[in-house]
Structures are given as structure tokens and as C-alpha cells.
């Protein structure tokens, strides 16, 4: 992503600085303050949870703890120590062979280099003060190899789930974090405009995926939350929400789902609208479908208040009369996807907290008509939820 650390990180003041605003300057986000606040929250959460050391491998957690810029790769990564947060010393140690993209608060003596050799890795980590005598070590992943490594590095430690500590720190968003999410939403909305402009009959889903990728990269934000961005739905036969772009070409009058996302300084923005292909007037059946989708989305959005549970959100969905959607319809948004994940099969006991940002998604489909997917971001508060994404509905308005 363009700058997980944001301006102020590492060599940003040098020749590598962006000049056009997306990674270079902001009049509303203080990235040094953002990182300092994250770090403070993380150490506070460790103290509250009695966790002495965090051993983090997931890029989003590493970004949260360190603010360092990381190379984006798609998919999961095998669990391995990429960032160690030590409560007794107050230090954050980072797997990075260089200091480029590393914020100034992390010193050279807190960097450990890339190694392919587990013995060298163990030796590098063994030098970190506060790890060997830790009693509680929290990790954000696990594997048989990690069991051996941790047993050697911190023989007296109980290895625990870092999720409660991370969730406590990460879930309620700071004003700077919210500003990043809104910036990312703006990029996603720009990508949606590019997609709408490209919706000519005959264009394929895969070509539209190319249009999307070109749009976000052209704005300086080259990495996607997901490549599941476009799904054309047929006017004949069964309708399913497909997330894998194909060479299928769009036919005039079809409904096509557009679901672009983007990252700004590591934070995600995402939204979805459904458009009619070509200069076609939507059919009455398509309009009714869009109306149902909108009402379902609105009902769930209105219910996103502090204290609401996943089970209650499912009941809200069901009260609209729509069939349960094929995917979870509410999920957390921050440094990418976060918990909660709420659907009819998962997240029943999750409880929404004030300060959480959620992506809420509604999908309704009728065989022989098409499908409509709509998605908006919402900030959960103690009162009225605040919608963070803005976009019209074009022909289906």
C-alpha cells in the first residue's frame, strides 16, 4: 500500500516523498500522532490483558504496532514473527532488513533482518530483551513450527491468543484513523465512478477488474482489499453472487454489481452499488429489486448501534423478509478487514462497540431478473450510526 506508516515514516522527507497529496500531505491527519496513539493503546491493552510480549505475524497487526510500510502480497502468510511488542521495555521490534518505510520511533537496534534459517531467526529474536523471561506471550497465529520456536525463546511463557488485546486496541477508531478510512472511501468512490464509466455492453468482468485496478493505482493507492469487485447477474435463469471475475461479457440491460475498495495509509474504504449495463432504463422488476436491497441495507444500517448483537442484526435482516445472504453481511473495517464478522452462520454473539467502523452489505436476487448488492460503511456510535460512504444509485435511484 502506498504508506502504512504514512508521511513522516522513514525516508518520507527525502526524494521518495509523494507530491500529489495521497501519500504526501494531509491537512487533517497527523500521522505521528496516529502512530503514537496506536502504540499507547496497544501497550495499555497489553497491561489490561496481562500480556508481556506480543509476537505478531499478520501484516495488519504489524502495521498497527509499528507503522512500518510493508510490501503487499495477496492472501494469507504463514505465521512467523514479524513484529514483537515488549511491555517491560516499551519497545517494538520489527522484521525489516532496512529502515526505509520504518517510522523514526523504531531505531536501528530494534530491526531484525530477513532470514530463511530458523536457527538464525531464533538467534536474532533471542537477543530481544524481555522475551526470555516473559510469562504471557500473545500471538496472532500459530503453527507446529511456531510452537517449537516459542518454546525455545520463552520457555516459561504461556502462549495465549493476542486477539483480545489487539481487538481492545484496534476496534474503537481514533479521529485520525477515521479520517484515513474516509480518505480510503473517497478513493473507492472514485474507482466506482471509473467502473460506471466503463460499463459498455460487451466489456468483460475481467476487463472491469482491470479498470478498477488501474483507477486505484492511478490515484496512488495501488493495492486492493479484494479483487472481488465485479459480478454481472443474468436476466435469465438462476442468479448467484460470484466473487471471481470471469471473461463473461456484460449484456445490455443486465444488473452488474460493483464493489470497489481501496487503502489509504493502510486503512480500508469500501462500498458497493449495482448498475444497469448500457443506456437502458431499468425494468420495473429491477427497480423493485433495487428498492428491496436499499430497504434491507437501511434497516441493518439503522440497527448498527453500540450494544447491538450479531443475533439481533440477523433478526433485523430477517424482518425485511429477504432470504439470508450467502456471505456475512456485517464486518469490521480498519486496517483492512477486522472482526466482528456477522452473518446467519457466524458472529451471533458479537456485540457492536461505539467507535467501530462496519461494512454493511445487502444482497437480494430474483431468478430471471438479476441481483442487487449494495454496501456502505458506517460508524457505530452510542447514538445514531454515521454513514461514511457516499454515492448515488444512478439509473436505479
Amino acid at each position: 500500500m502506498s504508506a502504512a506508516g504514512g508521511p513522516g515514516a522513514g525516508s518520507i522527507a527525502g526524494a521518495g516523498a509523494g507530491v500529489l497529496g495521497l501519500t504526501g500531505a494531509s491537512d487533517q491527519i497527523d500521522f505521528a500522532r496516529l502512530r503514537a496513539e496506536r502504540r499507547r493503546r496497544l501497550f495499555d491493552a497489553m497491561a489490561a490483558g496481562g500480556v508481556d510480549v506480543l509476537v505478531l505475524g499478520r501484516p495488519a497487526n504489524v502495521a498497527y504496532a509499528s507503522g512500518a510500510q510493508q510490501l503487499w502480497t495477496a492472501g494469507t502468510r504463514p505465521f512467523g514473527p514479524a513484529c514483537l511488542v515488549v511491555r517491560s521495555t516499551g519497545r517494538v521490534h520489527l522484521l525489516s532488513t532496512w529502515d526505509a518505510g520504518v517510522p523514526p520511533e523504531i531505531g536501528h537496534d530494534e530491526l531484525f533482518g530477513l532470514s530463511w534459517n530458523p536457527a538464525i531467526l531464533a538467534s536474532n529474536l533471542g537477543a530481544i530483551a524481555g522475551l526470555g523471561d516473559a510469562a504471557q506471550v500473545g500471538t496472532d497465529g500459530f503453527s507446529p513450527g511456531a510452537r517449537q520456536l516459542l518454546a525455545a525463546l520463552c520457555p516459561h511463557a504461556a502462549v495465549v491468543d493476542a486477539a483480545p488485546v489487539l481487538s481492545r486496541a484496534r476496534t474503537p477508531k481514533t479521529p485520525d484513523e477515521l479520517a484515513c478510512i474516509v480518505s480510503a472511501a473517497g478513493i473507492a468512490e472514485a474507482a466506482l465512478s471509473a467502473l460506471v464509466a466503463a460499463l459498455d455492453p460487451g466489456v468483460s468482468e475481467r476487463q472491469l477488474l482491470g479498470v478498477y485496478a488501474e483507477a486505484i493505482a492511478g490515484l496512488g493507492a495501488p493495492t486492493p482489499p479484494t479483487e472481488a469487485v465485479v459480478c454481472a447477474t443474468p436476466r435469465q435463469g438462476p442468479v448467484r453472487l460470484r466473487r471471481l471475475a470471469t471473461d463473461r461479457c456484460l449484456a445490455p440491460g443486465e444488473l452488474v454489481v460493483l464493489n470497489p475498495g481501496a487503502f489509504y495509509a493502510g486503512y480500508e474504504g469500501t462500498l458497493a452499488r449495482t448498475w444497469v449495463v448500457g443506456a437502458m432504463v431499468p425494468s420495473p422488476a429491477q427497480r423493485r429489486l433495487a428498492q428491496r436491497s436499499r430497504e434491507t441495507l437501511q434497516a441493518v444500517l439503522d440497527a448498527c448501534r453500540a450494544g447491538t448483537t450479531g443475533a439481533e442484526l440477523c433478526r433485523v435482516w430477517d424482518s425485511t423478509g429477504e432470504a439470508p445472504p450467502p456471505e456475512p453481511f456485517v464486518r469490521g473495517v480498519g486496517l483492512g478487514a477486522e472482526l466482528p464478522l456477522i452473518g446467519h452462520r457466524v458472529g451471533q454473539s458479537a456485540q457492536l462497540a461505539a467507535g467501530t467502523v462496519l461494512a454493511v452489505t445487502a444482497w437480494v436476487a430474483v431468478d430471471g431478473v438479476g441481483g442487487v448488492l449494495e454496501q456502505d460503511l458506517v460508524l457505530v456510535t452510542d447514538g445514531e450510526p454515521a454513514r461514511l460512504t457516499r454515492y448515488g444509485r444512478g439509473p436505479l435511484a
Binding site: 500500500m1 526524494a15 521518495g16 509523494g18 507530491v19 500529489l20 504526501g24 499478520r58 501484516p59 510493508q70 510490501l71 503487499w72 502480497t73 495477496a74 492472501g75 494469507t76 504463514p78 532488513t97 532496512w98 529502515d99 526505509a100 518505510g101 530491526l111 533482518g113 530463511w116 497465529g141 500459530f142 503453527s143 507446529p144 513450527g145 491468543d161 493476542a162 486477539a163 475481467r206 476487463q207 477488474l209 482491470g210 485496478a213 488501474e214 483507477a215 493505482a217 492511478g218 490515484l219 495501488p222 493495492t223 486492493p224 482489499p225 479484494t226 479483487e227 460470484r242 466473487r243 471471481l244 450467502p326 456471505e327 483492512g336 464478522l341 452462520r345 457466524v346 458472529g347 451471533q348
Partner: protein, 408 residues
């Protein structure tokens, strides 16, 4: 320089992969390795491991999405296919029997693990010997009676030597990647931002049929001298640095590195470019390229079954006048398959004894990526892919080295 042979265990690399045959062959290899390791099954959750075991395709997603929206594979010893648990049934292989296709599991969540437990209890006896690539804390909590060993040896052994169909997939991925790079290099001029190159590249790879993009493409502007680059833990060059919106300037030397996937297989493109309307390398820059080509040529002459990785590394060092021609934290070469970097690794800090035990066999794939650094000339780096054949090697990449000329 030409290839010596192009048969893998007597079979040619097909022009287009037979995906059904490829998945069947992989399944058989995995089953064979399960038997050799004495395991009753595998639980796989890593993106590339699942792709390998099941042949399923899923949209590329950020790692934060990938852990919540996991595709999971459960491999049972003796079963005709791997069980696939996915939210994207449209990506399942067409030949997968319906009883092996299931809805998504959520291994991050305690309620998801309840479903996993039910699946495992149905498929395996208590006390079954199971391998895994990763575990979540929810699994540690919810599966207290199951013990898992590492699946790395089983997966690694199955993946090490590719079938001709797998090689055809890698070649197809590489072709898409290279074609897109023609367009990117054609637009290269001062005043563009790094991300402008990304925009062009991504648009083209999807138009050309890439299944996914695998890595944020790298267009790193190299310092002329090592000391002009970022501080590093080992004093060597920092590479690869993530792309930003830096403006490209006349004469900038950029190291390009990208990877997309086709049917689960990764490409790996590496070249050194010079920014300018009509860029011409300096004499020192050209000499670096000539040295790079000499190293690659010397290594390729030794590429045949039976050669050890150590011998390849020593050959490369000898061709570079005794200086190790690769970056301290990397390697002379790495494999590529469903992972963008996988075994065989040559020249890493795993050490000489590791390299000595690694013996070339037909079907192994190498991305050769020597780096020549003449301090003051911004270095030369490029990557080419070869597969080891029954009696030599065959290239899987084919892209010019412009603006550098000569050699081949």
C-alpha cells in the same frame, strides 16, 4: 544460448495445460507423500497450500481479508480428492465430486471451529495423525484432542518437482506478465509516478487473462551507490522496497519485480530499466549487464539433473570473479509454483550443507536472479525462469533486456 532438452520424465510441456490432469497428478503426489510421512490427513488453510491441494481458485484478497474469508482444504489419506471448504464455489474444479465441496469454515472464530471439529470427527478416527500448515487460537481452544504436526515436509516434497502441466501454467502466467510489461516499458518516461506504472500493468494483466495479481509491483529507483540507499542490517542493498507515488526522473535506474497468477501458478518478472525517452546504459551499466549474462550463462551450463545447488552457487560466484552475485538476504535462485518463492532455494543463509543436499531433478523450476553491483552504477538485476528437464533445462520466460543489449 539454447536449451538442451525439453522433456520432463519423457513428456513434453504442453502448449496449454490440461488442468484436470494436472490436479489429478498433484492429488496423487500429495497422497504418495502422505503415505511416505505416515500421516492420515492434512488440514490446510494457507492460500497457496489450499490452491495446490484442491485446485480451487479464489479472488486475490488482502491478508486481513484472507484470514477471515479463508478457503480450507482437508486431505484424507486414500480419498480421491481433497475436501474444499469455500465461500467461492464458482472457483472449485469442475471435476470435484459434490461430496467434496462444502460451504466456508471460519477457523478464526470459535463457532467456526465447532464446524471444523464436526468435519474432522466425520473424516478421521480419534488419534489420527494429522498435518497442518497453520493453526488459529480458536482451533487450539476448540480441538484440544487433536494433535497436528507440520505439513511442510509433505507439501514441500509434493511441490518440489512440477509436472509438464504445472510448467505450462507457470509459462502461461509468465507470458501474461511479460506482455503487460511491454506496454509498461513503452510508456516509461520522466514525470510519471511509480504508481502510474502499476496502473498500466494491472489493467493489462487482467485484460490478458491473469487470474489474480499476487504482489504490489515493484519499481524501485536504485541509488547509484550503496551508501546512497537506506540503512540495512547487513550493509548490503535494500530491495525490494514498496512502491509509492515517487516521480520518476530522467536517467533513474529502476529494478522491476512483479508477479501475477494464472490458475494458481505464479509468474516472476524481473528486469532493470532506465527512465528516459531513449535510454542508453552507460559503459559501466552495460558492463554490469554483461556480467549478469555471463553469470546466468555459466549457471545454465550446469543446469541438469544431478547437479547440486551448491555447485550452481559456486559456478555463479566463479563467473563473478569470486564475489557472490546476489543480495545478502536473498538467493541466487528460488523456485516458483503456487508460491511466488518456494523450494528449491539456492544460496540462502540455510548454508552450504543445505545447498549440497539439494540435487537438481527434472521438473524443478528456478527463477535465476543474480544481482551485479558495481558501486556507482546502480546495479543490474533481472530474473529468468528455467525448468530442469531430463537432460538439461528449458526456459519458461522470454523477455528482452532493453535498454541493455548484447549477450543473447
Amino acid at each position: 544460448m539454447g536449451e538442451v532438452g525439453s522433456l520432463i520424465a519423457g513428456a513434453p510441456i504442453p502448449a496449454a495445460p490440461d488442468l484436470v490432469r494436472m490436479r489429478r497428478d498433484r492429488g496423487e503426489k500429495l497422497q504418495h507423500q502422505l503415505g511416505a510421512a505416515g500421516l492420515d490427513g492434512l488440514v490446510l488453510m494457507g492460500t497457496s497450500a489450499v490452491a495446490y491441494a484442491t485446485g480451487a481458485v479464489a479472488p486475490a484478497v488482502d491478508s486481513s481479508h484472507a484470514v477471515l474469508d479463508r478457503t480450507v482444504a482437508i486431505v484424507v489419506s486414500g480419498a480421491p480428492a481433497a475436501h474444499l471448504f469455500t465461500a467461492h464455489p464458482e472457483g472449485a474444479p469442475s471435476e470435484l465430486p459434490t461430496e467434496f465441496l462444502h460451504g466456508p469454515l471460519y477457523p478464526e472464530l470459535d463457532e467456526g471451529v465447532t464446524t471444523i471439529k464436526r468435519a474432522l470427527d466425520e473424516l478421521f478416527e480419534p488419534g489420527a495423525r494429522l498435518g497442518c500448515d497453520e493453526l488459529t487460537h480458536a482451533m487450539l481452544r476448540g480441538l484440544p484432542d487433536r494433535e497436528f504436526t507440520s505439513a511442510a515436509a509433505v507439501l514441500g516434497a509434493a511441490k518440489l518437482c512440477k509436472t509438464p502441466d504445472e510448467l505450462a501454467c507457470i509459462r502461461a502466467a509468465q507470458r501474461i506478465n511479460e506482455l503487460a510489461m511491454w506496454d509498461v516499458q513503452a510508456m516509461l518516461r520522466p514525470g510519471l509516478r511509480q504508481t502510474d506504472l502499476t496502473a498500466r500493468f494491472l489493467r493489462r494483466v487482467f485484460e490478458l487473462g491473469a487470474t489474480t495479481n499476487a504482489i504490489d509491483p515493484i519499481w524501485q529507483v536504485m541509488p547509484t551507490m550503496r551508501a546512497g540507499g537506506p540503512w540495512t542490517t547487513h550493509g548490503d542493498i535494500a530491495f525490494p522496497l514498496a512502491t509509492g507515488d515517487r516521480l520518476l526522473r530522467e536517467g533513474d535506474v529502476i529494478w522491476v519485480d512483479s508477479g501475477i497468477t494464472y490458475q494458481g501458478y505464479a509468474s516472476d518478472f524481473g528486469r532493470t530499466w532506465i527512465v528516459g525517452a531513449d535510454p542508453a546504459p552507460s559503459a559501466r551499466q552495460q558492463a554490469q549487464f554483461d556480467r549478469w549474462a555471463a553469470v546466468v550463462e555459466a549457471v545454465l551450463e550446469r543446469c541438469q539433473p544431478g547437479t547440486t545447488a551448491l555447485e550452481l552457487g559456486q559456478t555463479a560466484i566463479a563467473a563473478n570473479e569470486g564475489v557472490k552475485p546476489w543480495i545478502e538476504h536473498f538467493y541466487l535462485a528460488h523456485g516458483v509454483g503456487t508460491d511466488s518463492a518456494e523450494m528449491p532455494l539456492i544460496g540462502t543463509d540455510l548454508g552450504a550443507s543445505f545447498d549440497e543436499r539439494l540435487i537438481l531433478q527434472p521438473g524443478m523450476v528456478f527463477v535465476l536472479e543474480p544481482v551485479i553491483w558495481d558501486d556507482g552504477a546502480a546495479g543490474y538485476r533481472a530474473e529468468d525462469i528455467v525448468a530442469i528437464t531430463d537432460d538439461g533445462w528449458v526456459p519458461l520466460s522470454a523477455h528482452p533486456y532493453d535498454p541493455f543489449v548484447g549477450a543473447w
